[in-house]
């Protein structure tokens, strides 16, 4: 099989991995080599589904021993199998990088033989790139659950980011749909990676030449809609991963039906809106100071489809509003629908010079269409603040009707990060 045919099989098999981030790592390139990384990350193209392409996303092999129900590459599925040699992946990466197609390599793999054998072959690709070819670009390695800690450590020394996929939001679902994978085999390397990253940071404070361990941190991914967990369970899981394991990102991937296994739900289309709402809620956890318990509860465990989670929270908490734009602190501003991280910072910078007027709000970039129900500007309100919550909800629906007509227009937040 030639490289082109392999590339088609093995990039097609990798496309369900959501992560494309190339940010969070800053490395000067070696003088005689190729590549550096910039801390903001760079997108190089956008594919036909509108997602950014930053990394050459590949499986080393799709020849899998495991039989996970939700996966195209499960052993019982009759798809064409292929495996790259290390040299082929190295050459592809360099050929693409030199033409500025990509920011680096994202390498994952099906489990060939044992987890250790697979992980060893993947680490060897990264090692060849870094040591033989002096490659300074971005490398993201997937960790195969069950591989030895020695190999995980090696992976962290060559890669900018490493990630272990959590796959499904609970042990019960894992048991049912991916019987060869076990929660502990996933969480143990995550915890170990978290410790290694932390100790490498401490070491580098006292010794600048100490080796860097996964400088762009670790991330994970889970499939949404293939198992029965509700949004509240999922968000609490993410919250735990961010707080306890120090993860940089949790990716959510709407389940795309790839098989008619009777353990899986029958879906007319991938649950894209649900995925979108989860990303919005995830942003609230990481950048807006919300907790999972504020966004959802056991009584209302699903994210609202009509409203984004922040607006839904605001509608449930009329006592918090209106917020006075010229006095409120950063954390309070962030809770106003229509005000994001950027506009909250701008408001604080701009009011040093003069009080902000309603005109100024628009110029700063606040989405007044949404914010006007929740704010006052130097005491002046835009809408009657004493309106009962149910009425406000209705008003909001009418005001937003143009946006609501297009629920399929989904923009993943932070796709650039």
């Amino acid at each position: 099989m030639d490289t082109l045919a392999k590339l088609q099989i093995l990039s097609g098999a990798a496309r369900y991995d959501a992560s494309c981030a190339s940010s969070g790592s800053k490395r000067e390139g070696p003088a005689c080599g190729t590549g550096n990384t910039s801390s903001s990350g760079i997108c190089h193209s956008w594919s036909d589904d509108g997602r950014c392409i930053s990394l050459l996303k590949l499986l080393l092999s799709n020849d899998c021993r495991y039989d996970c129900a939700y996966c195209v590459n499960r052993s019982s599925n009759s798809v064409e199998r292929a495996s790259f040699t290390a040299r082929e992946v190295v050459d592809l990466t360099l050929d693409f990088y030199r033409r500025n197609y990509i920011e680096g390599l994202f390498l994952s793999s099906a489990v060939m033989g044992s987890p250790d054998q697979t992980m060893d072959r993947m680490v060897r690709v990264a090692e060849t790139l870094r040591t033989e070819e002096q490659f300074g670009g971005y490398i993201h390695l997937k960790i195969i659950p069950g591989s030895s800690s020695e190999l995980v450590r090696k992976a962290g020394l060559y890669a900018d980011r490493i990630s272990v996929n959590i796959e499904l939001p609970s042990q019960a679902s894992l048991q049912r749909l991916a019987p060869q994978k076990h929660k502990d085999a996933i969480l143990a390397p995550m915890a170990m990676i978290g410790r290694e990253i932390a100790s490498s940071l401490v070491e580098r404070k006292s010794n600048r030449r100490a080796p860097r361990f996964a400088p762009a941190g670790q991330s994970t991914q889970m499939i949404i809609g293939a198992s029965p967990e509700n949004d509240f369970q999922i968000l609490r899981l993410s919250q735990g991963l961010y707080k306890k394991m120090n993860l940089k990102r949790v990716y959510y991937s709407a389940y795309v039906p790839v098989t008619d296994d009777n353990r899986l739900p029958v879906l007319a289309a991938p649950p894209l809106l649900r995925e979108h709402r989860l990303y919005q809620a995830d942003w609230l956890l990481r950048f807006y100071g919300f907790s999972a318990e504020e966004i959802l509860s056991d009584d209302a465990p699903h994210l609202d489809e009509t409203f984004d989670p922040k607006t839904a929270w605001a509608l449930r908490h009329p006592e918090f509003f209106p917020v006075e734009i010229n006095r409120a602190d950063y954390g309070t501003l962030l809770r106003v629908p229509g005000i994001g991280v950027v506009s909250a910072k701008r408001i604080i910078a701009a009011r040093r010079f003069s009080a902000i007027t309603p005109e100024g709000m628009k110029k700063i970039g606040v989405v007044m269409k949404r914010a006007k129900y929740f704010i006052t500007c130097s005491g002046r309100s835009f809408e009657k603040p004493d309106r009962p919550a149910t009425l406000l909800r209705q008003q909001f629906l009418i005001g937003e009707s143009s946006a609501l007509a297009l629920p399929t227009q989904l923009v993943l937040p932070g796709i650039f990060s």
Binding site: T3, L4, L7, Q8, S11, G12, A14, R15, Y16, G29, P30, A31, C32, G33, T34, G35, N36, S40, I42, C43, H44, S45, W46, S47, D48, D49, G50, R51, I53, S54, L56, K57, L92, D95, F96, R98, R99, N100, Y101, E103, Q134, V256, A269, P270, L272, R346, I348, A349, A350, R352, F353, S354, I356, T357, G360, K363, I364, Q409, L410, I415
Partner: protein, 245 residues
């Protein structure tokens, strides 16, 4: 309101601004424009002094480095008729330091910051969207037609990235070029451009990239509108993956 004129060069502009900041009690009330060769133009002409211009930039960089950076990005946009805004912005930057960029309700600050942001955004975008082709002699060539004159900072970016390669950037519309070879970066203009021959394996590598670009998209999630909003069609002309579409 006092009105001043300068000769239309960048040095002229900044030496005029330096002069006004020195001589005028309230620069916010002053207008500055390029001298056109018409008969009755009113305004006092300030002659160009390159050392004054350089000195102004140096002082600004020291007192307000962020503002100096904004100014640099602004100049990439090659926008005409913005001299008064620039003057007002710089005078505010000397008063408030880097905090000036937060003064978004001031019209001059808003003008300068928004244009600078656009230029900066295109620069960042081109760092990703630029495509090199390998030539027969082993060097790499990338052609582009950006809205802003970003070849300098863009070439700098690639000089840190593709250090072991011999490469050229070519701005087709402005006819300017950058060249990196063995640790040296040079700039120049190209009068007559003839497309050089590609290396033998170039088409093969391009076909691999085009195949990757096609297969990496999830068919159930096709979204051409989102693709176009992230990657406007004006950039497709030189994108390897968009050839022949």
């Amino acid at each position: 309101m006092n009105r001043y004129l300068y000769d239309g060069t960048a040095d002229g502009l900044f030496s005029a601004i330096a002069w006004i900041l020195e001589e005028e009690p309230d620069p916010q009330q002053v207008a500055l424009a390029e001298r056109k060769d018409t008969l009755f133009e009113d305004g006092f002409f300030i002659s160009t002094d390159a050392t004054q211009a350089e000195d102004l930039f140096f002082r600004l960089r020291k007192q307000a480095p962020d503002a100096a950076h904004t100014l640099y990005s602004f100049m990439l946009a090659e926008k005409e008729g913005t001299e008064s805004s620039l003057l007002h912005y710089i005078s505010l930057a000397f008063i408030h330091g880097d905090k000036v960029n937060g003064h978004l309700t001031h019209p001059a600050v808003r003008d300068i910051v928004s244009v600078a942001k656009k230029a900066g955004r295109e620069l960042h975008r081109m760092k990703g969207l630029l495509r090199f082709e390998k030539l027969r002699d082993g060097a790499y060539l990338a052609k582009m037609e950006p809205d802003h004159n970003i070849i300098h900072p863009l070439a700098y970016h690639f000089s840190r990235r593709l250090r072991a390669q011999h490469w050229f950037l070519y701005d087709v519309r402005r006819r300017t070029a950058a060249r990196w070879n063995q640790g040296a970066l040079q700039f120049g203009t190209i009068e007559q451009f003839t497309a050089p021959a590609l290396s033998d394996d170039e088409k093969k590598v391009q076909a691999l990239w085009q195949a990757f670009f096609k297969t990496i998209a999830i068919p159930d999630r096709k979204n051409p509108r989102l693709q176009k909003s992230n990657m406007p069609m004006k950039y497709w002309k030189y994108l390897t993956e968009k050839q022949g579409e």
